[in-house]
């Protein structure tokens, strides 16, 4: 099968899947495509988007590839999705960070770290599919334990849990400026993109 045709199918698969599609899965479906070649093919598609001046990018998140709109058009998309904009309060962000690093974790443990009630926040995170119930802890009372979801990785653009920023060691006095740990879109070297490169700090 010709490369152009493979590209066509890979793009269609990523577009239609919505959810991240892994390289292995793509290689399985697309004839004569090797898993090791998927990244290169996807990079070509992303470069095409750039050359054609389209506001689309393919990201590698949650263990797969996903088509996303470019941050530069976010203001228009927010108008479209006005009621859906994903806003997270400080309480929600702190709670999700604790769950992410300490999973599986009980509500009482979250409460101990934050020093405040965690029930309502956990509930809302479960509602939004950022956190899930992962079972019970086998201790008296069998409390529920919580863990993060694939959607959590997707929302924060993480490839896998290990891509979370490093949690500062208690002994360290200064946090390492480690925002670069976030997986960037497969825009390749963001230097090529210039002003349109998504830069977390600018986006509010």
């Amino acid at each position: 099968m010709e490369r152009s045709q493979q590209k066509q199918i890979v793009e269609a698969l990523i577009v239609a899947a919505g959810e991240p599609v892994s390289a292995a899965r793509l290689a399985e479906i697309v004839p004569a495509l090797d898993a090791s070649d998927v990244a290169g093919l996807v990079a070509e598609i992303t470069r095409d988007y750039e050359d054609q001046g389209r506001a689309l990018e393919i990201w590698e998140v949650a263990g797969g590839y996903q088509l996303r709109t470019h941050a530069s058009v976010a203001p228009y998309l927010r108008l479209l999705h006005r009621e859906r904009a994903l806003r997270l309060s400080r309480a929600a962000l702190e709670t999700i960070a604790i769950v992410a690093y300490r999973q599986p974790i009980t509500r009482a443990e979250v409460e101990h770290v934050r020093g405040v009630e965690a029930g309502p926040v956990l509930k809302s995170l479960v509602d939004r599919k950022l956190v899930r119930i992962a079972g019970h802890r086998e201790v008296p009372g069998r409390p529920l334990v919580y863990a993060t979801t694939k959607r959590f990785l997707e929302v924060f653009g993480l490839g896998k849990l290990d891509d979370l920023p490093t949690l500062r060691e208690v002994e360290e006095l200064l946090p390492p400026p480690d925002a670069a740990a976030q997986v960037t879109p497969l825009e390749l070297e963001s230097a090529e993109v210039g002003e349109s490169a998504p830069s977390p700090s600018e986006l509010h």
Binding site: I14, V15, A16, G18, E57, W59, V61, Q66, L67, R68, H70, A71, A74, L77, R78, H81, E83, R84, A85, L86, R87, L88, S89, R90, A91, L93, E94, I96, A97, Y101, V113, R114, G115, V116, E117, P120, S124, D127, R128, K129, R132, E154, V155, F156, G157, L164, P165, L167, R168, V170, L173, P175, D178, A179, Q182, P185, P198, P200, S201, L203
Partner: protein, 286 residues
Amino acid sequence: MLESGTPLAVGSVAGPTCAIKLSLFEGPLDLLLHLIRENEMDVTELPVAQIAGQYIEYLNLMEELQLDVAAEYLVMAATLAWIKSRMLLPPSENDDDEEGLDPRAELIARLLEYERFKEVSEQLGEYTREGRDVFKARVPESASTPEGERELEVSLMTLLDAFRRVLARVPTGPGLHEVEGELVTVYERMLAIMDAIGAEGGSLEFEQLFASDPEARLSRPLVVATFLALLELVRVAALRVYQGLREDGAPEGPIRLRRTEEGAEEWRRRIADDPRVHGVKSQEGV
């Protein structure tokens, strides 16, 4: 409960030594960290006497402003008072088990732990976020997928939540194994739902499906059949299910059922054409 938000504009409070910049805190630990920072101290130094005083002033201020002081803040005030009293005592040999331990140790450890997560959550908050900064492609499954193969995008949990909430209200009567007396079919329930929606002018709350039934007849088999009928109606596109979305995108509020616009004849045809309904019909003779 205190929610984070915009700082409350209070410049200072009475007293020459304390000018507390008051914002709404995430909890007692957050407030303590704030006070420590204000005093340009290090967490590990934790000047309890000084901080405890400011902490109490803050609580008093909140009360003056008639803000609810959550119980956690009061517990922390008590903890601070206890630590303060312990620190005033000379090291005593009576306290066998805690000998030599800095009474502040546990609180310091908690503060450090909380601070780490606070920092990392701030970092996460600045990450490019799907649904805020970038938006994923959302394309419906290709029209080439036959209707029967099309799958419903809903988690087991979502569905069970709704289903089991209703089941919970039903008295635990005869189990599945003993319902011979009452044969409820999904087909009957499909028609009943459409009738109920019709009676309400085309739209109905999920809960009403079960509330509208004469109380005594709300049995588990009936609830189960009604729920399955609802799913079936969605499948044949005789009705759609909606729920409100909160500003942040979380589903909220009652689940609503709405009849699609094709009218009664069309959905009757669809129900009749549903192969699964035929299976039910043939059972009716049994």
